[in-house]
Amino acid sequence: MRVHRWLPHFVGRAGRRLSVRLLSISLAALLLAVAHTAVAADGVDPAKDARAFQDYFFKKFPGVKPDDFANGPYALNEDMRRQWEEKEQFPPYEFSLEAGKELFAKPFANGKHYADCFADQGIGIRQDYPQFDTKSGKVITLELALNRCREANGEKAISYTGDDMAALTAYMAFTSRGKPLNIKIPDDPRALEAYEDGKRYFYTRRGQLNFSCATCHVQNPGERLRAEVLAPALGILNAMPIYRSEWGGMGTTSRRFITCNSQVRGVPLEPQSDEYRDLEYFLSYVSNGLPISGPGSRP
């Protein structure tokens, strides 16, 4: 009954096998937790977290070069890597990238440009996002910054999950390729809190399937869930935005988070809600040092 209620009925044979395994893992984790009851609320140490996070993946996949984690599942599976390399010869995000370049250069009605809203005219700066804004006390993602820029110049915000946002971020990522992710947590208790909230969101189980982000992307990267080879959490945002064959098109970080939530049968939050922004902040911070590889293509 418990299995029936909490687990997918129609994830397919392979999926169910994984789910059952995940269930036993979660039960084991639960037992372990209870054995250690009353875990002290230890102090937040992002730098230590990031080291531990990266070490976990480096040890789990000793054959994978650190920078290669920015290539997601392709770093872990040879057959998929060959399909990807073939696709990269003329990648499917090519059209979006060109559209993004045009959109980025197109002036607003007031004559100003996106470039006027960003450091270095917006070129080669993707690795600095998300940022913590000490004025508002909130995390500012690149997608949010783009819409804030539009609104500051009298333009309507565009959809966080739409093609234009994907194209703009694709172009900005492309101009930043190879630059190591460089997320900063300023000396502000609210920044630490945002980081910690993002971390909690990442590890919290949700949805009817009772999966957390970590269930798939920390405990089981490289495993197949249905046909998909799960991407490692380390470096997962470095490739954003992505062209997904499954979507037959481009998707932003917002779209990816929403899809993840619905895949575990949770009701997704609003794009760029505080939770998603904090999640992006945490997940980016722990991948600091890995190169921007976006735009990416994924199954």
Partner: protein, 164 residues
């Protein structure tokens, strides 16, 4: 294209394809005239072959004969497609005088996926990306010196391309 026609033996395929167009015209199907480059009668788009549900019938309509397996064809396709919507498949061959290459996916709703005409001076190597509805063999047909050869490889598809 005319140089190709002069230099290659007239195969039954040309006759058959001509007949196919007549049949289509008879049914009131409008065959688009297209740009002048498609003018030669035997270069018409093989519409009937592309509508076939059965791979043998599609090959028969396209070529009017059957193919025999050849180890001189290298068919490169993934063991497991990362997504059936985009399956990279390529072929190269050491066979001589190649005039066409066709890709057939028997489990797709329409079995003929692509048909490439290879004029003289063009290498018999093609790479493309195909949709696969489900796990299926991929058959490549190479027309060489007026004869047909084939190679086959199975590609497992767990997320279907819902197409083809």
């Amino acid at each position: 294209m005319t140089s190709l026609d002069d230099s290659q033996p007239v195969t039954r395929r040309i006759v058959l394809r001509g007949a196919g167009s007549v049949a289509l015209a008879g049914l009131g199907v409008v065959v688009l005239p297209g740009p002048t480059v498609f003018a030669a009668a035997n270069d018409k788009y093989p519409e009937d072959a592309f509508k076939q549900k059965d791979n043998k019938e599609a090959i028969r309509l396209l070529y009017g004969r059957t193919a025999e397996p050849s180890d001189k064809i290298k068919l490169d396709a993934p063991e497991i497609a990362e997504n059936g919507a985009v399956v990279p498949i390529s072929v190269s061959t050491s066979l001589a005088d190649v005039t066409s290459i066709a890709f057939v996916v028997p489990e797709n709703p329409n079995v003929l996926a692509a048909y490439y005409k290879i004029p003289q001076g063009t290498l018999p190597n093609v790479a493309n990306r195909l949709k696969m509805a489900k796990t299926s063999n991929v058959i490549v047909i190479v027309e060489s010196g007026g004869k047909l050869f084939s190679a086959t490889k199975e590609v497992k598809v767990t997320v279907g391309g819902c197409g083809g």
